[in-house]
Amino acid sequence: MRTLSTILWLGTKELRSFFQDWVLLGLVAYSFSLAIIAQAQSNAQELHDASLAIVDEDHSELSRRIAHAFLPPYFKPAERVEERDVERLMNVGRYTFILDIPPNFERDVLAGRSPALQVNVDATAIVQAGIGSSYAQQIITTEIGDFLSRAENGSPPLVNLAVRIGFNPNVTTAWFTSVMGIINNVTMLAIILAGAAVVREREHGTMDHLLVMPISPFEIAMSKILANALVISVAAGLSLSVVVRGLLSIPIAGSVPLFMCGVMIYLFFATAVGVFLATIARTMPQLGLLYILVAIPLNMLSGSNTPLESMPPFFRTIMQASPSTHFVSFAQAILYRGAGFDVVWPRFLAVALIGGLFLAFGLLRFRSVAAQSA
């Protein structure tokens, strides 16, 4: 009981020092509002406004039709360029796609000679190049098909492929990036705030003050973990309900309370990582470096940015041990696919178990390091 009240009081102290730093407060607000909106608007992972140019050496009706078939929002209107400029334009990265329609293309198509049409793709713009080239192929095929069927009454293909995209029918990237932005922020903030709270005490020498008081290192560490976890869960909850749902009007399929439960479980892990790192680092610059080495891989490889399946098997196995992977996975299941507790409980359990282990480890280390310096 006494421990609880001590933790509570130390926690309020922690919160006070947090609210006194206006710049820090502003940065947290920014990262959960404006930064989320910016990510939602960025269309970072879909084909959007891809730049396209056409070398039209045919000047026929068909070539004009193909040029006009590339439409926004996927492609910018096609610009005409000369053949001799292709090399240079590709080099400076002016266009991601350059189509080359050879002379007599229409005539050869009509005569059934199957002429070649070249699509040059800047393969260094990987996401766009991949999706865009299959779009381009389809657009051109359809356009030629239409042209031919008008000319000679061709028949439609025998088997049709009806593709439906589940949970996000229009494949809107904002749905994905906004929520993943919140998730990345949670990891980042939790580690920095909790870690920095410990290191600051040490650098200012106030850690000694705390240690000579009749309170245990366990209470100190727990108060920091709880206070910072509280700040972050409030920020994440507000961000999800006000920014994502309200301002960006992104529908959330599943239960927000369930997701917030998951966030809190996860926060125990993330703040414990912060405290643990703080026991290794003696100064803030050291903590900054450690943070980068730990937090950024946790985020970037968790599946919140790039698909998990495509990573080398070795990494995939390691990342299964990271709660951030499970966090991303249950967040996607709850928020996009509307999964209930019956589906996500193994993930919750995994986060709780690994998080609990880490918490115990962090606290243990904190105690021994604190004892040394005292």
Partner: protein, 370 residues
Amino acid sequence: MSAYTIRESLELLRDPIRLTFALAGTAFLMLIFGFGITTDVNSLSFAVLDRDNTFESRAYLEELRGSPYFVEQTPLKDAQDLQDRLKSGKVTATIEIPPGFGRDIKRGRPTEVAAWIDGAMPFRAETIHGYLQGVHQQFLADPAIRGNGAADAPPSPADIEIRFRYNQDFDSIYAMVPSQIAMQLALIPAILMALAIVREKELGSIVNLYVTPVTRLEFLLGKQIPYVAVATINFAVMLLMSAFIFHVPLKGSFLALALGSLIYVAATTGYGMVVSAFTKTQIAALFGTAILTVLPATMFAGMLTPVSSLTGIGVVLGRLFPMTYFLPVSVGALTKGLDFTDLSGHLLALAAFVPALTLLSLLLLRAQEK
């Protein structure tokens, strides 16, 4: 100024943890991200619901199984199973073949295959969509199917050649490794720089600056030089790693790349300097630099999406971030094999950042003391 440089260098050298992490850390991250971040979409799990089970339906599924991108899971039992497995994320795509599929093909009646794709990750969904279309076209072109249906099908009207320039196999490592060099040179130098300055403020040793006849410019530049030096070593290490570990050799101008990266690290440390000028505590500086660099670096600088396709606030954030201009240099020199003149435009834009950022942090530092 040189006094400050020496002092800061000494501080750095006497802090083995910081120095080791600053040097080895970038190499470590490069290793992880170079292999770990990939936008190649493969090993996708799919499951089928074959309600027909005839020669034709099996032929269709064979096409899918033959594709290197897909890994098959146990077949689906029914429509409920399909929804459940999609929901839990155990499969990312499902294929359903209707009853009477084979019969309809034989009689020449149009029929339809239904595919569901998990849209939780939009870019992956789009890519799967493209793959499925490709498999579908292959099936349509299969002579065994055609022979049964319409008699002599005409040859395809045109041959669409997709040429992936600079990266024939379309392997994301060739774009990712140069991007990682750009990203690593943005993160760690900026954070170290910001902390180096705010540290003095928080611990009070900045008073030395106020009481000695050192100008602010000398103070800032003196602090910056050691970090530029560290970052330059990082660059050299990463360049070697890209050639020998990732087998992404330098194809273009070394001079342009080296010069570019020197200007670039001067700019990214400058970026950290600006952040440090308006923060008072190290926590705020650490967090501020982290969110102000990580987000633009991963999202808005052109690493995954060309900057020309961005919309909204992202454009502004991207344009104001030095990495946006270094990325074309790094990718251009390493993967595209460009020479100095091709890259000079980007180099000039990059160079403009250095005085601009220095001036800005000078003004902010001055404003602070009043």
